[in-house]
Amino acid sequence: MHKLAFLRIKETVVEGKGFKTLRFMFNRKVRPGQFVMVWIPGVDEIPMSLSYLGRIKGITIREVGESTKILGSLKVGDSMAIRGPFGRGFERLSGKTLLVCGGAGAAAVLPIAEEMDNRERVDIAIGARTKDELIFEERSKMYSDNVRTSTDDGSEGCEGTVVDLAKHMMKERKYDFLQACGPESMLSSLLKVGKEHGVSGQFSLERFMRCGVGICGSCVINGKRVCTDGPVFWGEELESMSDFGRSKRDESGQKIGL
């Protein structure tokens, strides 16, 4: 049981255009990739990955609609209601790992780097549409000597998608694992590219969520509950899911294209 926790915001950081991090004390144990449900009273309750897992935890919000805009406008001293953490996070793997972050997906992935005890073992690829939307580049460099970026418009780093970048990196170097979060189309391409290079990995998905505890069924993908069986899945699991990269369920449970 996850008691609804009201937390005071201790720090806010603008991470990039439309991206904001809120930091707060939250004394529960969290794995990288796990998420919380954030309640915006009178508006909604939405899932957010925990982007910082130390003593002072954090969420990193991409402002896309009403709730995320309201969250983005919170100030130090404001309070915030969350419950969680939920889900099966990323595993602590031993091997050389490439972390791949698409857009807001970096929030779920960066804590993996922070958890690694060896900067030699982790390389990081961060992608965004444009330069202003690249996040966590500096933070990444604290944990890895090989941090690369890509932008769709070429305004910084390689021009192209983060999958192109990852492919390039996999050619340069042999990785044991990929760990990634981002838009599902990106994850789906990355899974393929990884296979071509013989690299298996874990991927974090997003689905519409209500309960977070695995009972309502809103978040299912091919019979798996993203909130409890995921949000992080192994590539091998995803390959057997016909909806992966293709379709999801809307609020009414109807299957729609991604």
């Binding site: 009273p41 309750e45 209601a81 695995g214």
Partner: protein, 302 residues
């Protein structure tokens, strides 16, 4: 050999544990996953005529002794739901189709669609405590219950289960109305109308304000409803509410339930709960030398 096999009004199940309605039951594959995890049968999410988005979040409150939920009956509508049922049935699951509506005729229409999709029984949701115009608003009036059950019985040949609410003092009359109208089995209970207020936010937590309480907190209420009804009807009763262990299931069975539904326990204990309950019941039967679970039904009555 100790047997867990039960026959509920003609619906035969390998074991008495059923996935409750609204619990991961919106898609065929997740229904199948519960069946494969050990459920004897699975009930679909309650399905209506048209697609419904349900209420906005928060739709669930976690409590130390259960959940409070007001999903708002989200569902893709009966037409789209056909392929989900098919998928589960083809996969081998015994599926019970839950339906909701605000009038008898629509209940009948939905039920006959469900039968066409291949479900083994329909379950009429006359008990959702938080959707205005539906559920318990109908299920507290014996006349209305009678009318709905009669209409559905005319439109299908499969068994008709009727899911009742504990939020009334007329539970006995309602159960009798179900039986009188030819209902094949009663499911009791749905959630108890309740709410939670966040004192920090100074407002109700659920977007719908009111919701339904489920989980261990309601077990004593569910057991009481089953016990009360067992004394007044002859049709089989399916128990629900707060079942998390084989002991809980046995308590319902001794109260008079022939089978049990499990909902919140899946969130609190995991999908393995079906196997655990069944394993426990089987071991119990063996240790007591009881051949069939059926022998225990209603044994708590003097």
């Amino acid at each position: 050999m100790a047997s867990l096999r039960v026959n509920v009004a003609g619906l035969v199940m390998e074991n008495p544990t059923i996935l409750g309605s609204g619990i991961i039951g919106e898609t065929g594959e997740s229904l199948l996953s519960a069946y494969k995890a050990g459920a004897g049968a699975v009930v679909t999410k309650s399905i209506g005529l048209e697609a419904r988005k349900g209420y906005s979040n928060p739709t669930l409150v976690e409590l130390p002794f259960g959940y409070l939920n007001a999903m708002g009956l989200p569902n893709p509508g009966i037409e789209s739901f056909g392929e989900e049922v098919l998928l589960a049935v083809r996969g081998g699951a015994t599926v019970i189709g839950s339906v909701f509506a605000s009038e008898a005729e629509v209940f009948a229409q939905l039920s006959s669609k469900m039968e066409a999709f291949g479900v083994s029984a329909v379950e009429l949701n006359l008990s959702c405590p938080h959707a205005s115009g539906y559920g318990m608003e109908l299920g507290v009036d014996p006349g209305v219950v009678r009318e709905i059950v009669l209409a559905v019985k005319k439109s299908v040949t499969i068994p008709v289960f009727v899911k009742l609410t504990p939020n009334t003092h007329r539970i006995i009359e309602i159960a009798q109305a179900v039986q009188a109208a030819g209902g094949d089995s009663i499911v009791a209970i749905n959630t108890v109308k309740a709410m939670a207020i966040s004192i920090e936010a100074g407002r109700p937590i659920l977007s719908n304000i009111f919701g339904g309480l489920s989980g261990p907190a309601v077990k004593p209420i569910g057991v009481r409803c089953v016990y009360e009804m067992y004394d007044v009807v002859d049709i089989p009763i399916i128990g629900a509410g707060g079942i998390e262990t084989w002991q809980d299931a046995l308590e319902y069975i001794m109260a008079g339930a022939v089978a049990v539904q499990i909902g919140s326990g899946i969130g609190r204990r995991g999908l393995n709960i079906f196997k655990e309950v069944n394993f426990g019941l089987e071991r119990y039967l063996k240790s007591r030398g009881i051949e069939s679970l059926g022998e225990l039904v209603g044994t708590a009555h003097a």
